[in-house]
């Protein structure tokens, strides 16, 4: 199976699990954003343009499931994936967690600011909480997902995240 198909499957699973966790976790309506983890993991070791394209497409699908203006997640994920790719392959779990946490914060900030300024009646007050909680969840989850991300997304490139 090509990496692109694996990426598509991993992205779809990430969306489903994120939605399920937002329903089940104790902080109402807030959960991890697994999609950005998959996007960043896919982009590591790739050309920035490839990573950004993958981020744009994944973000666009996320946008289609939300009421905020379509294109905001797409742009946020694309820019984040581009930037994360420029940062290079993380060495060690600490660097990898830092990269995933920074990418989560950046993408959520870009998306949130876009939604507040362009979205109809979007209240900015939950934005800081969303940034903090989503980043914290992703930072906690990313070490657990690293073997899975390495296996599924990095299958045939030879690059290993956090090693």
């Amino acid at each position: 199976m090509s990496r692109h198909v694996l990426f598509a499957v991993a992205a779809a699973v990430a969306l489903l699990v994120s939605s399920e966790l937002a329903l089940s976790l104790p902080l109402a309506g807030l959960g991890p954003d697994l999609l950005i983890l998959v996007v960043v993991a896919f982009g590591i070791g790739e050309r920035p343009r490839t990573a950004a394209t993958a981020g744009f497409v994944a973000g666009l699908v996320r946008d289609l499931l939300l009421t905020t203006p379509t294109g905001l997640s797409a742009f946020a994920y694309a820019v984040t994936a581009y930037g994360a790719t420029l940062a290079g392959v993380p060495r060690g779990v600490g660097q990898a967690v830092g990269l995933f946490a920074t990418a989560t914060f950046s993408s959520q900030l870009l998306y949130g600011l876009g939604a507040v300024f362009l979205g109809p009646q979007v209240d900015p007050s939950p934005l800081p909480r969303m940034l903090f909680v989503t980043t914290a969840y992703n930072a906690l989850i990313s070490p657990l997902l690293m073997p899975l991300l390495n296996r599924v997304v990095r299958a045939d490139s030879g690059v290993q995240v956090g090693e």
Partner: protein, 288 residues
């Protein structure tokens, strides 16, 4: 590390152009509505499948959580074997759901509402949006702009309906606005979501507020203007505080919803009304 070339810069320009194009298409035309509907429909079906897979595990976890409060009862049941204990846990979960459905039916009956019952299968992917996906859609009579009830009272309204799933905009979402009546004074206002835990009531008569017509602890119910989405008398929440702005120009009325929006499971979509002789009095389950 990749060197940024002219091609990369051109790519970034194209990326920005694509984003602006998508945003423009979204704002100016309805072209993306169909795509979004199809995507939501497909995602909703997958969410339903995932929820049915996850629910049994969640029930076991919840039951384990409840064991702390049932310690006394557990002492009496210590002699029971493992099989019976598992059966008891299953029964407790079924009984809990049954109680919630009974409460839901009471709220429906009190509001004179004929409801389609649905299960919540997913929550919003964004922290800026308060919504839930349910496993009933147009095939079941669920259409947009219908009130949605939980066991304790009003949960929100249908914002989008596919054939088999629908999206519910919760009353705490910043885009939600509900006409309400407050306490015994009967003052009316507009309850807007804040995106946070509570909702805020606006457009209440300043003179009435100056006279103390709205107090902490007052019950808030839907006012149900003719032609509106929400039937009258549905419990919404309780006034948590009434504060005068620092310069005394306006009041802020904060209301805590009766419905525990973080624990939604079974909901009823008000697809029709039944004749009632008098408006119901709110008896929210959350007050128990």
């Amino acid at each position: 590390m990749w060197r940024r070339t002219l091609r990369d810069r051109v790519f970034i320009a194209i990326l920005v152009l694509c984003t602006v194009t998508v945003l423009t298409l979204d704002f100016r035309t309805g072209i993306l509505d169909g795509v979004a509907g199809t995507t939501s429909q497909a995602f909703g079906v997958l969410q339903t499948g995932v929820r049915s897979f996850v629910s049994p595990f969640e029930s076991v976890v919840r039951t384990i959580g409840d064991l702390g409060s049932l310690r006394g009862e557990n002492r009496r049941l210590r002699a029971e074997n493992n099989r019976l204990r598992r059966l008891a846990e299953t029964y407790a979960d079924v009984a809990r759901e049954n109680a919630r459905i009974q409460s839901l039916l009471r709220v429906e009956g009190a509001g004179g509402v004929r409801g389609v019952h649905a299960r919540v299968v997913g929550a919003s992917l964004s922290g800026l949006e308060r919504s839930a996906t349910i496993n009933k859609g147009r095939d079941d009579g669920v259409v947009p702009d219908k009130a949605v009830l939980a066991a304790e009272g009003l949960a929100g309204r249908v914002s989008w309906a596919g054939t088999r799933t629908a999206k519910v905009l919760l009353i705490t979402d910043a885009q939600s606005a509900v006409g309400v009546r407050i306490g015994t004074s009967g003052e009316t206002g507009l309850a807007r979501g804040t995106g946070g835990r509570n909702i805020e009531i606006e457009l209440v008569s300043r003179a009435a507020l100056d006279q103390g017509a709205v107090k902490t602890g007052d019950t808030v119910v839907t006012s149900g203007y003719q032609g509106g989405i929400f039937p009258p008398g549905l419990p919404v929440g309780r006034v948590e505080n009434v504060t005068l702005a620092p310069r005394g120009t306006s009041y802020s009325i904060s209301v805590r919803p009766f419905v525990r929006l973080s624990q939604l499971d079974v909901l009823a979509v008000a697809v029709g009304t039944e004749l009632v002789e008098s408006p119901p009095s709110p008896t929210p389950a959350a007050e128990e």
